[in-house]
């Protein structure tokens, strides 16, 4: 009896395996490699988006999140770049960080190592000042920076990130100079700002939306006002051309089979118009800005160019 069962099971397994070869993508679970710990911003994005991507990939697709944290996402993204390009491994991707790392260290990948599926989140930068500084408008801030170049201390989360690039742009556009104080992450930078230990800070809108009573939020670096803080004007409105943010999306290793890539692109396209998805992302403080396929690739190239110019004029290490 037992032997018989074994044989049947074996036969069944063989039939299933043969079936798999013919089945349409995806016929087994897809792994999403998240380069950060569970619970972080990127992880929350991946976990929130996963059920929606499953829905649009159809055919009972299932996505499994695998956290490979370390080195600001470097370890995870390197693993994605080196995995088999069959569509069963995709990963999260952060801009400008991932491209900036190709400049300031020997990264195990380049811009050509990936198939760019979609950028999902764009958390725009904001310029904030401490209440103690008295600099409650952009005009006052720029006047103060011009009066004594370098006198304004700027807290930010790290060098070589979106906040650093925004400050470089600001300096160029307004011809001003600042003293950069790179904290380890945005939370301590924000705390130092609230305590008045630094005069100015560059953060992301999701990090300051709830703190508008304790710090001055001077402007947001987007084309349109952010729904997270509708009363904060854009820099555009204030006559300064500045757009920048921290972006998070999904990539796969380069060289995906065309039909698999097309399937992902189609799924992400559908995601853009899903109201439930937008609501789920808003609930987790993730400002959504979908850029799919070629658009995402262009965005990546653009970011790399910007990072290169900053790196060449003022390298950060």
């Amino acid at each position: 009896m037992f032997k018989y069962m074994q044989k049947t099971a074996l036969a069944a397994a063989m039939v299933m395996a043969a079936g798999a070869a013919w089945a349409e993508f995806p016929d087994k679970p897809i792994t999403i490699i998240v380069g950060f710990d569970a619970g972080g911003g990127t992880d929350v994005m991946a976990r929130t988006a996963a059920p929606f991507i499953e829905k649009y990939l159809g055919a009972g697709a299932s996505l499994v999140v695998k956290n490979v944290p370390g080195a600001s996402g470097q370890i995870g993204v390197t693993e994605v770049a080196n995995s088999v390009a069959d569509g069963y491994t995709i990963g999260t991707y952060n801009l400008p960080g991932m491209m900036a790392r190709t400049l300031d260290r020997e990264a195990g990948y380049t811009a050509d190592s990936f198939s760019y599926l979609a950028n999902v989140v764009n958390d725009p930068n904001v310029i904030v000042t401490s209440k103690a500084s008295g600099l409650d408008t952009m005009e006052k801030l720029i006047a103060a920076a011009k009066a004594e170049p370098g006198a304004i201390t700027v807290g930010m989360s790290s060098l070589g990130g979106d906040d650093h690039f925004l400050l470089t742009k600001l300096g160029k556009v307004t011809e001003t100079e600042y003293t950069i104080v790179p904290f380890k992450g945005s939370a301590p930078a924000r705390t130092a700002l609230m305590g008045g230990h630094v005069a100015m800070g560059i953060l992301n809108i999701s990090e300051v939306a709830d703190f508008q009573d304790q710090i001055n939020v001077l402007g947001v670096a987007t084309a349109k006002r952010s729904e997270f803080a509708p009363d904060v004007p854009t820099f555009e409105e204030q006559g300064i051309a500045l757009e920048s943010g921290s972006m998070r999306g999904f990539v796969a290793p380069a060289g995906l089979p065309p039909e698999v890539e097309a399937k992902f692109i189609e799924a992400f396209d559908k995601l853009a118009s899903d109201k439930d998805f937008a609501a789920a992302m808003a609930a987790t403080s993730n400002p959504v800005e979908l850029k799919v396929g070629a658009d995402f690739k262009a965005l990546n190239a653009e970011t790399l160019d910007l990072a290169k110019t900053v790196w060449e004029t003022s390298p950060w290490n």
Binding site: A38, A71, V181, P182, K184, A187, A192, W316, N317
Partner: protein, 501 residues
């Protein structure tokens, strides 16, 4: 401010959270009762496993273990004159003589009641002091945090007792380990040898497991302790009959609680110091100091109340400033961070239910200790001392390896942990203190990062380090800690020679 405290209460009372505290207390007593295994070790082995749990469940386990272990250490201290944890050394002074007189049961009851009272006092201190202090933390910019780190490192080196030079070497090793990883300002690689795994620096939990868990386990395996010397008859009476006899200790309890709370808040010092100080003060205040050391129950009360009174209060600087004062607090911070909870003023604002729930769990843990450690349970815990050691040791080693692997899911960390274990074993044999290594790792990184940040804020002017009153006070405290002990000694020597001459 205290309203959040009440709001958090229902969360803590949920079945799973309450169960976590209960399990924690029992586990803590067990661990504490086994000589060589400390609260730090138990919690560091546990932390990686709590990853998949709800934050409050995880924290409840830790709070329970901490409270339980501080009492558990008294069991072998009383019965075998082997302190189960370093903090229980002072408990042996009077506890063991009591056991020899056949009053071991009473000694353990005094220990459990005193531990519980100390724990309750400490939990109240945490509840009342941490919320207002968390508002003050905005005063602490990079310069002030730098000084706190320096102060804490000096106090652990100079006040731990023992050899200052060895303490300094231990601390330097910790500081060196903190240098590994990417530079906090510029992000250059330092001592990573091309391993991406080292880029984030060395995870405190990995170091702790290796350093704190491996050496005692190896010790356990290499010297099968004779455990059958424990007196079978503990002479235990029901606790409600012995309780009235303890009421006369109320002054000692009060004094010991205050000492324990104060020592807990001070970064650097820990449970053992609190117990010694409390014991000495109580003896000085006693009308019959000559009976101390020969089985005076008040001596057990003094030591045990103080080593539990520093538990929750040690978390005050940890939760408000993110600076752990003791190695246990350091592991607990590691546990918070694993759950994405960043200590500091934002913690109280963004996760009030968790922070305040954690405080409640300390209180419940201390109360539960009274019941779980009560007379009947004490007898069974005393039997623990007969567990086969090789079995115990191998179980712990397996847990350590699985736990460390599960933090990031990589073998690299396991090798790292084993490496630190080897270092810890050698240090242990050569009598180098281990706490300075842990605090050196954490505080060294704090000191470096904040020194460099303040110099950037001051645009290269070192004056910024002394620019405000908070900094100046901290500098004064640091100087007092460094030179205080030697000045005091010289003063006493002078008086002695003066009296002779």
């Amino acid at each position: 401010m205290y309203l959040d405290l009440l709001h958090a209460l229902p969360h803590v009372l949920s079945l799973t959270n309450f169960l976590a505290v209960t399990i924690g207390v029992v586990a803590g007593i067990v661990v504490g009762a086994l000589p060589g295994l400390s609260a730090t070790m138990a919690i560091s082995v546990l932390v990686p496993f709590t990853f998949g749990l709800e934050p409050l469940v995880a924290l409840g386990l830790m709070a329970g273990i901490y409270n339980g272990a501080m009492y558990g250490g008294a069991i072998p201290a009383v019965l075998l004159r082997i302190p189960g944890t370093p903090a229980a050394v002072a408990t042996t002074f009077d506890g063991y003589p009591m056991a020899q007189k056949g009053e071991g049961g009473f000694a353990l009851q005094v220990a459990v009641v005193s531990s519980s009272i100390g724990g309750i006092a400490s939990a109240f201190a945490l509840m009342l002091l941490a919320p207002p202090l968390s508002k003050l933390t905005l005063l602490f910019g990079p310069a002030e945090v730098f000084w706190i780190a320096v102060f804490a490192m000096c106090s652990i080196i100079f006040m731990l007792g023992g050899n200052v030079v060895k303490g300094l070497i231990s601390a330097c090793f910790g500081v060196f380990v903190s240098v590994v990883g990417s530079d906090p300002i510029f992000g250059n690689d330092r001592y990573t040898f091309g391993y991406l795994e080292l880029l984030d620096g060395i995870n405190i939990v990995i170091l702790l497991v290796g350093l704190y868990a491996l050496p005692p386990v190896l010790d356990l395996l290499e010297s099968p302790l004779k455990t059958d010397t424990a007196n079978e008859n503990l002479g235990t009476e029901p606790i409600w009959r012995t309780l009235p006899r303890m009421m006369r200790f109320w002054k000692t309890w009060l004094r010991g609680s205050l000492i324990g709370i104060w020592i807990g808040i001070l970064p650097g010092a820990g449970g053992s110091m609190a117990a010694f100080m409390s014991y000495n003060e109580a003896r000085r205040a006693s009308k019959t100091p000559e009976s101390w050391g020969h089985g005076e129950p008040e001596g057990v009360a003094a030591a045990e109340v103080a080593n539990n009174a520093d538990t929750a209060s040690a978390l005050i600087p940890a939760l408000t400033l993110g600076i752990p004062g003791t190695s246990v607090a350091a592991v607990m911070l590691g546990g918070l961070l694993i759950h994405g909870l960043q200590p500091g003023p934002m913690l109280f604002r963004e996760n009030p239910d968790i922070v305040f729930g954690f405080m409640w769990q300390f209180l419940f843990g201390a109360i539960l200790l009274l019941f779980l450690g009560g007379s009947l349970a004490t007898n069974s815990f005393a039997k623990l001392l007969k567990l086969p050691r090789p079995l115990l040791g191998s179980v712990i080693i397996v847990l350590m390896v699985i736990g460390v692997y599960s933090i990031h899911g990589r073998m690299f960390d396991v090798y790292l942990m084993l490496g630190f274990g080897a270092v810890g074993y050698v240090m242990d044999k050569l009598k180098f203190p281990l706490p300075p290594v842990v605090l050196g790792l954490i505080l060294g990184a704090f000191a470096e990062e904040n020194l460099r940040l303040s110099l950037r804020i001051g645009r290269g002017d070192w004056g910024i380090l002394f620019a405000n009153h908070t900094s100046q006070v901290l500098v004064a405290l640091t100087i007092a800690v460094v030179f205080g002990p030697s000045l005091k000694r010289r003063y006493w020597d002078n008086r002695k020679s003066g009296a002779q001459g």
